[in-house]
Symmetry: C2
Subunit: 182 residues, 2 copies
Amino acid sequence: MAPRKQQEIFDATLRLAAERGYDGLTVEGVAERSGVNKTTIYRWWPSKAALLGAALVESDLLGFEAPDTGSLRGDLVALVEGVRRLLTEPPGSDIAVAALSAAVRHPELDARRFFADRFAREREIFERAVGRGELKGSADPMLIVDLLAGAVWMRAVFRGSPVDDDFPAEAVAAVLEGVQIL
Amino acid sequence: MAPRKQQEIFDATLRLAAERGYDGLTVEGVAERSGVNKTTIYRWWPSKAALLGAALVESDLLGFEAPDTGSLRGDLVALVEGVRRLLTEPPGSDIAVAALSAAVRHPELDARRFFADRFAREREIFERAVGRGELKGSADPMLIVDLLAGAVWMRAVFRGSPVDDDFPAEAVAAVLEGVQIL
């Protein structure tokens, strides 16, 4: 299938999931919205779960590139700013929040792939930081990502609070420098 | 209503939400499961959203008391261990994950109350830490809670990875001491 057509299918899938929730998402609906024949869609993705799972990882709407600003602090602030945008700026945020909360209730969506795929790309931030001598030997890159991305999720989605402009730099400073008087 | 009866209603509400999802939750189902008349339930909670919102905050199943171990590190490790239990040990974890992910899609549930209520109780951890001279003046208690609780959520729910026994102490060490070479 042409990559452009594929992106249109993913786009329709994510938008329908955001509008109707996972229960309201159907391959028929995606066919209608994207103008692609239902049987063609089924040939590529055998179920709506497979389709939404693929869309999470492969759609340009949720696209992700690891920042490379020249410092660990700069990269992490850019990373947190990206998560903040993803979770707070509509229409992308409606899509991300709907798809990710559906993934929690539907393990067949395999949201792990989404996070594993992102983390594979985030790794280079930490490899460069180690090369520059910025990161403690004991530091665990996945833990750092989970602390920072999880904080945005808690603030924006669960607390429903505004995530203000200072939040990314403050969250990164807390994790880089620590909050304890040493 | 007798507190015990109220707890039975909340219990039935949370378990049904976990079994059937929010869409499958009905006040009728809660009435049946708890043996309390439907009209009595409606007199106290005007909708299933109000009922589930109240159950999140008031049910003993999701009960929470701030730890008081004598040190900031000990309190935070206990806090993370509590979140880890809440999100990974069934049947409590099915309930918590179902209810909280429903809350994401249904703002009328007012999950903010659940997090605001917990945070009001977590505050004392930080007040005691300031009193003991353990916490930097710049440290933001809500940010610390969101980093730590968010990391457990990311690891256990989104990545679907085991949260091993060392995780609480490692997450707390990262936030207390920082991960950067200073």
